[in-house]
């Protein structure tokens, strides 16, 4: 077995306890290898579903609603569905894939036996999911452009908005996946959290006519801030308001990163 072709293992020299990017890259390498096997069905589900929503609501409801705030309904909803797509392509993998890998596949045990810690593992898993959300989230916007939405340079911000929001919702999913006692209890999260999240975010209709409490609730819904940012990127930026929306999303990311790391550590390290 002895060979001289590969040197023996060497330890990292960073001080103990320091966050490192090398393990993050290692976990991402695994994600990439897995994605190369499953990109077709993953992409199909991530792209086709929001496009169907867009076409069905855009043309179906659009013929009844006409215009909202001076924009054709299909343009209004096209920007809203970007956020919905981001939510679905980040929250579900964060919630379900992470649970399956942890509980059924024991994949994280294998990775944590290597020089990877829980913070790096969680960051890498959420980053990969966010990367996909950043790309897939743009599909409804491209379809809306094909149906007449005027392209703007500021729309180039949409992948970034989708990426950061997707990172947050992936972390939220990871946190909840480590919180639930069984896979069956995820139904509470799907029906009790995810559905209200995308309905009280201004995706399908503006929140202006909602009661005060619903509008207040929207302010703490990160998806609402994502919807606003995407809409402004498509129809015209409002710098101060958008900085506020972006700050709200960053605060959400910081909070759920801490929660996800804390809860995953509790599950993975006894």
């Amino acid at each position: 077995m002895t060979t001289t072709t590969t040197p023996a293992a060497r330890p990292p020299q960073t001080p103990p306890g320091r966050f490192e990017f090398a393990p993050v890259r290692g976990v991402l390498a695994r994600e990439w290898a897995l994605y190369r096997r499953s990109w077709a069905p993953t992409t199909f589900a991530a792209v086709v579903e929001p496009v169907i929503y867009l076409l069905a609501f855009g043309f179906g409801m659009g013929s009844l609603v006409g215009a909202i705030g001076g924009y054709r309904y299909i343009e209004f909803i096209g920007t809203g569905i970007v956020a919905m797509s981001v939510l679905f392509t980040s929250m579900f993998p964060g919630l379900i894939d992470t649970y399956v890998r942890r509980v059924f596949q024991h994949a994280y045990e294998g990775m944590l036996a290597a020089p990877v810690d829980v913070r790096e593992l969680v960051t890498a898993e959420a980053s990969w999911i966010a990367l996909k959300s950043g790309v897939y989230g743009c599909a409804p916007l491209l379809v809306a452009i094909a149906f007449g939405l005027e392209p703007r340079g500021t729309m180039l911000l949409v992948p970034l908005i989708a990426l950061v929001t997707g990172f947050g919702f992936a972390l939220l999913g990871i946190w909840l996946s480590a919180l639930v006692p069984s896979i069956k209890t995820m139904d509470y999260i799907i029906s009790g959290l995810i559905t209200p999240l995308f309905l009280i975010a201004g995706t399908f209709f503006p929140l202006d006519d909602f009661p005060g409490w619903a509008r207040a609730l929207a302010q703490v819904n990160p998806l609402y801030h994502c919807v606003e940012l995407v809409r402004h990127a498509a129809f015209g930026l409002r710098p101060w308001a958008d900085l506020g929306h972006f700050a709200a999303i960053l605060a959400f990311v910081a909070l759920v990163w801490c929660l996800a790391v804390f809860q995953m550590r509790r599950r993975l390290i006894d």
Binding site: T5, T6, R10, P11, F19, F21, R30, A107, P115, I269
Partner: protein
């Protein structure tokens, strides 16, 4: 935040220590249950130590503590001079772990599974292909390199699992029940692999509940029960110390077994019931006076199982 930088091996050596793995007074509790209860264990560099014990003895918890996936409530753990859990990442970079659960990525090929772990173990980019090739060769999986893992047989998967833990040429290898649930033929194959590791000077800590496995592969065996090491030594030495050269088995009805035990008690020789017979350890020391009373039994060489059962009162496979 800093990305890792790898230095030449001479710069990276931990403080000199005679033990590659050291556990001192380690305690691990789960609520009111104490899984590991004051464990002291040293594994000398370049040796194979078999951790032998029945299910629930604390072997897997010990293994998890060594990879910092379980935190000790008390005691001190070091691996190659690195303290666990504080410096566990450094220790894990030098360690290979073969888990009890098969957690291979099924959709990936054999080569891809190994390549992923070269990334996780930070094998430099230019050295990854050679590292994968070496691991494939070692596990005799070269002709299966591009086969999806879910198409492999159980034995091949186990070999891949071992190869994955060795892809970065670790200095310490933890094998957690490496052959559990496998056919005898596949087990023999894996024993060959583990023997090669020993010949290569790698330090191996192997938990098992198979007597034969511990006996054949280990330089030393630590017998574990109820979270503690109850005895330790080379297999032959342990057998000699606790069971002597020979064991004599006396098949008898239950009432006769009690009579035999009564007759043997004054000799001080250890005995144990094995189904419908009574085994007398260190049978070569049986006094003639007792022999006249109990007659001749079925004589066989003493083995590690006799030692284990005598020391712990529990049975193992």
């Amino acid at each position: 935040m800093t990305s890792s930088r790898l230095r030449a091996p001479s710069e990276t050596l931990a403080p000199a220590t005679s033990s590659a793995v050291s556990l001192r007074g380690v305690v691990k509790r789960f609520g009111s249950f104490t899984a590991v209860d004051g464990l002291d264990l040293e594994v000398a560099a370049g040796t194979v130590l078999g951790l032998l014990g029945p299910n629930g003895a604390g072997k897997s918890t010990t293994m998890r503590m060594l990879t910092a996936q379980s935190r000790a409530d008390e005691g001190e753990i070091t691996i190659l001079g690195h303290r666990i859990p504080r410096e566990s990442k450094r220790a894990r970079a030098l360690m290979g772990v073969v888990p009890q659960h098969d957690n291979l990525d099924e959709e990936l090929t054999v080569r891809e599974n190994l390549t992923v772990f070269t990334h996780l173990y930070r094998v430099p980019r230019g050295e990854r292909p050679a590292a994968v090739q070496r691991a494939l060769r070692m596990a005799h999986l070269e002709d299966r390199a591009d086969t999806r893992t879910d198409k492999l047989s159980g034995g091949m998967r186990r070999r891949l699992l071992i190869a994955r833990g060795l892809v970065h040429r670790p200095r310490v290898v933890l094998l957690d029940e490496p052959t559990v649930g496998l056919d005898p033929q596949i087990r023999q194959e894996l024993w060959g692999l583990i023997t090669e590791l020993r010949e290569d000077g790698v330090t191996v800590l192997m938990s098992t509940h198979y007597i034969e496995e511990a006996e054949r592969l280990s330089d030393e065996v630590a017998l574990m029960a109820k979270g503690r090491v109850v005895s330790r030594g080379a297999p032959a030495e342990l057998v000699q110390r606790y069971a002597g050269r020979a064991v004599e088995e006396f098949p008898a009805a239950p009432t006769d077994l009690e009579r035999l035990e009564r007759l043997l008690r004054p000799t001080g020789l250890p005995t144990r019931r094995t189904g419908a017979s009574l085994a007398v350890l260190r049978a070569e020391e049986l006094p003639d006076s007792v022999r006249d009373e109990i007659g001749e039994g079925d004589r066989r060489a003493a083995n590690l199982e006799d030692v284990f059962v005598t020391l712990t009162g529990e049975t193992v496979e």
